[in-house]
Symmetry: none
Amino acid sequence: MSPKIVNKEEKKAEIIHAAMIVFAKRGLVKTKMIDIAEQAGIGKGTIYEYFRSKEDIFATAFQYFFSEMTTAIESILADTEDPVEQLKLLMTESLNSLQHVGSDFAAIMMDFWAEGIRNKDQRILSIINLKKIYENYRRTIRTILEDGISKGVFKPVNTLYTSAVLIAAFDGLILQWIMDRELIDLEKVTNVLISNFLEGIKK
Amino acid sequence: MSPKIVNKEEKKAEIIHAAMIVFAKRGLVKTKMIDIAEQAGIGKGTIYEYFRSKEDIFATAFQYFFSEMTTAIESILADTEDPVEQLKLLMTESLNSLQHVGSDFAAIMMDFWAEGIRNKDQRILSIINLKKIYENYRRTIRTILEDGISKGVFKPVNTLYTSAVLIAAFDGLILQWIMDRELIDLEKVTNVLISNFLEGIKK
Amino acid sequence: MSPKIVNKEEKKAEIIHAAMIVFAKRGLVKTKMIDIAEQAGIGKGTIYEYFRSKEDIFATAFQYFFSEMTTAIESILADTEDPVEQLKLLMTESLNSLQHVGSDFAAIMMDFWAEGIRNKDQRILSIINLKKIYENYRRTIRTILEDGISKGVFKPVNTLYTSAVLIAAFDGLILQWIMDRELIDLEKVTNVLISNFLEGIKK
Amino acid sequence: MSPKIVNKEEKKAEIIHAAMIVFAKRGLVKTKMIDIAEQAGIGKGTIYEYFRSKEDIFATAFQYFFSEMTTAIESILADTEDPVEQLKLLMTESLNSLQHVGSDFAAIMMDFWAEGIRNKDQRILSIINLKKIYENYRRTIRTILEDGISKGVFKPVNTLYTSAVLIAAFDGLILQWIMDRELIDLEKVTNVLISNFLEGIKK
DNA sequence: TATGAATGAGCATTCATTCAT
DNA sequence: TATGAATGAATGCTCATTCAT
């Protein structure tokens, strides 16, 4: 007769997980609350015990998505201290992990971008803040580049823009991969990116 | 005896223009027919004299958007025969024209991507076919690269993946620019991309 | 430079004729003004030069339909003075003429009934007045029956109800014929009606 | 833990009941979803929890209407084995029950006819199939007639057409009654029909 | 805590009617 | 007189959210 004990955070994570699966399948906009509920194996109303609104789910999913990427990046960087190797690892590992979860899942990124760009809601902006997220990405890359420059491995390039270009190429390749999975072999194309681009900035 | 004479094609273009403005402001999904009508200064019902449905407007806008890009690209390529110069021009001019129409407008591309990726409707697929559009973009770049290789200007790189990387970088930079217009100076960042990347593939 | 001279009444009749054709094909409710205009080979707006509204067209068509029936009936009755023969002729000729115009056309009667029954609009009620129309039909039959009774041909039946039953059978047979043209041979079934029913009321 | 328990079938029946009332009042075509909802004392959206579409409501109402008639007919026939009596009972009881529900309600039949005749939608045709319904009615009457003929009570009439005529008279009388409730006393007119018509086919 | 029945705001679309030409 | 481009009221339907159980 004791009340069912539920780990709130755990269940939230479960719902987010379910939501991500449906987002990947149907896209953000076409996903209905009932879809998420069914995927999570719970009742429609139950979702509202854990999330205020559909937007809240979206924002939380957004957070999970990018925080996981950040965590992955950080762990990658700890593996080596060679700037060239770090950049290589960063690209290959990031693309590998995306390839692993699948292009459907990667397509969520499109939705996150599209939504994240417009969102002006102050309550949500603190969570869905692509500007800040990309600032962080760039900062990570810049640190590597500056490290490489000071070590004499890289030319004295503009680290802000170089980091932007690297991230840009990464995002753009995912986009093309989503559209044409057969054609774009992420591994090979990453090698092309790395070999050519690093060649350009290496001393 | 004679009713009001209207240039149907002109009016369609006007409505598409209005739609694009609203798409840019509100995003594709949140745009309502009444928004487009008000922006165009016409009645809600009038839109249906020129377009079958909301989806039809979207598909037509999509077509306008990418066909304009294609036209712009073609005219750029006619200006010079030097492969290096062609690639430079392609990047700078494309980014310039996007910069010119504004980031709100460029944000439509996000919506087009997000929608285009998921759309499986056969009727629409013939119009909204990002896969094909990107194939064309890559083919254009490949031709330049192959030309450059045969002329001995470029190393014998994998032209498919190199073209993919170049386009990727372009798309990704726009994305970052949309999110942070102050930080990302498209001109400067393009120079960085060109100088570093071309350096990597030049012989 | 003289203005085009148009016979207003003639053109009204043309439009009504076109309307009837479309009513027969699509049904009253699903018929749009544009359908009538196209069938009549004129512009949508032109209809409003001759009719105030869609309802006006309907009411006029209604009038045409039933006044034609009445005219047909009257001419039939003039052919003979024998009450038995008059009833026979009335049934056979009425059914024949309906058979001739076709079941699609006869189906309009269903629409007229459905609409006529509900219509409470006073402006229209003077035109679409099924109650009065059926009173007239019954009066015609009653006159024949009374004539037959006074001539000693018919039993002294209740002429009101007998006329109602005869008209009812007529209407009901059309209904079944509309639904199942192959099965119901109007000629044969009329013979059955006449022979059995007249047998019942003949002295 | 346990949500509100609703008898889905019961609620469907309630909504159909409400729909029938509105259909009777306003007519099928002019009935709006909001009308049905208000009559049923529920919200607009609730209807869609029980019916897919307006057409679905209509089809279900249609089904209820005619299946009730069929049930009534079957129970009537079980009361006696005398063919003459069966025909008499069939007419009087059917008319009585219609008289009981009221002419507004009977007017729905007009709408059903009008709609049923045109409907060509295959999905709906299996439900709204007046041709089949009338075939069943005729078969019922034919069985009685054939029974009567073999028992030597009726002349060897054409049973198909005779049954068609009987049903026709029934339908037609309802039509006149709907239009003129004061004038047409269903009981008396049925007696006239029975006495005259049966007289005609009795041996 | 969990649920799903109930709800109504919101939206795409239709079509009778108007009116400038 | 004839037209069809323009219009917006009207309506079926969806779906996020609420709340009684």
